[in-house]
Amino acid sequence: MITIIDYNAGNIKSVQRACAEVGVEAIVTSDPTTVAGAEKIIFPGVGAAPSAMTYLKKTGLDEALKDAFNAEIPILGICLGAQIILKSSDEGNRKCLGLVPGKTVRFRLEDKLLKIPHMGWNEVTLVQPHPLLEGIQPGDEFYFVHSYYPQPADKKNIYAVSSHGTDFCCALGSRNLFATQFHPEKSGRLGLQLLERFARWDGTLTA
């Protein structure tokens, strides 16, 4: 059973539907106690980091997520969920959860033909293996919608990169936590495959 965190940051139903498609039961909750005691957590979200952090703090979900991370519960962050697990965000200069060292930065593009938000299908290139990225081939594409991206301080936390004017981290992880800037729930078969792997993942890095 997967627990999807609802923290008032966009449409989380699509993540729940994608879980159903791969035969995984998922509940949606904004109750910190449920989150801290979950078997597995998906931390999705679209929108702005400052308002999301404000909401997480107000509801106590920030502490519940930290507790879950320390309790070795497998966590999958998606999009905004891949950004606010870092220490801070340039968006509104905001302190974030700090589960992974680093910060979230905005695209600064010199090429005027490139657009922000970075929206559409783009190639994801593995830089080191991870159980959730198993089977991903060169040329595999995933769906992105974002203007900011995660920038882990330590290279060891970077698992995959993509390119939009600059190479940027699009999958990061630390121990039982893994997160993607792209949307697996909107990335067709390859995205569903990643969700399926997460549903089976025990949170360790050995295959």
Binding site: R17, E21, K112, W121, E141, H164, K186, S187, R189
Partner: protein
């Protein structure tokens, strides 16, 4: 680098798939959800559903329809037709549509674009434009006019100026539909598409006129479009999404091939 996109448009009338020729004489050609699923599995990058009846009474049917679609396809899709208010947009978005398209109602009251963009984000707000060629004049220097109400009512509004206004108000993407090319299968309106793509900083989806794979290639290269929208050439089985994408890929267009 972002890939170019193949977009399939499904005109929906009371939950049934309809295809129009030059915006009149619509006929039903099947179940849109079955079709959508088929295109999804065949590698389409995005889907657009237009509610061509777009009546108030149809709102609930459409929301129910969007929920059903969202359970079947796991790529982005947008919905358009009769969206007149922020609640219209947010309901469709909450039902599972990644984006919403506004058209006629935005021409009648342009603030609708900024209101929707504020509520659900620019990236989810698409401005669709039905456009016809006219002789350039003082009011319409670009030589293209916006036509509303499903392509029947000319407005006297310059299409290029409207595209720029739409971008300023917060539209995150434009659908450029040429009424002259729609249904002809003679190719997209390349000049119109390129003029639009070169004048705005948001993605442009070219629509109307696709008959052969070359047409898609032309509009994605010469026409500077970010995405090519097709309808009848896939609805009637002339081409599959895969065949269209393979053609583009083989000619060097970056497009998603692994699915």
């Amino acid at each position: 680098m972002l890939s170019k996109r193949l977009v399939v448009c499904l005109d929906v009338r009371s939950g049934k798939l309809a295809k129009s020729i030059k915006f009149v004489d619509t006929k039903d050609i099947g179940d849109p959800i079955t079709k959508a699923r088929q295109y999804y599995e065949d590698g389409v990058d995005e889907l657009v559903f237009y509610d061509i009846t777009a009546s108030r009474e149809n709102r609930d049917i459409m929301i129910d329809f969007v929920e059903k679609v969202a359970r079947q396809i796991f790529i982005p899709f947008s919905v358009g037709g009769g969206i007149r208010s922020v609640p219209d947009a947010t309901k469709l978005r909450n039902a599972g549509a990644e984006k919403v398209n506004v058209n006629t109602a935005a021409v009648k009251r342009k603030e609708l674009i900024s209101e929707i963009a504020h509520a659900i984000g620019s990236q989810s707000t698409i401005l669709s434009m039905d456009i016809r060629k006219v002789d350039p004049n003082k009011e319409m220097p670009s030589g293209y006019e916006i036509v509303i109400n499903g392509g029947v009512t000319p407005t006297g509004i310059d299409a290029l100026r409207w595209a720029k206004t739409g971008e300023e108000l917060g539209a995150g993407e434009l659908v450029i539909n040429s009424i002259d090319a729609d249904g002809t299968k003679d190719g997209y309106e390349i000049n119109l598409t390129r003029m639009m793509a070169d004048s705005v900083n948001i993605p442009v989806i070219a629509s109307g006129g696709a008959g052969k794979p070359e047409h898609l290639y032309d509009v994605l290269t010469e026409g500077h479009a970010d995405a090519a929208l097709v309808a009848s050439i896939v609805h009637y089985g002339e081409y599959t999404c895969r065949a269209l994408k393979e053609y583009l890929h083989n000619r060097g267009i970056k497009i998603r091939m692994n699915y």
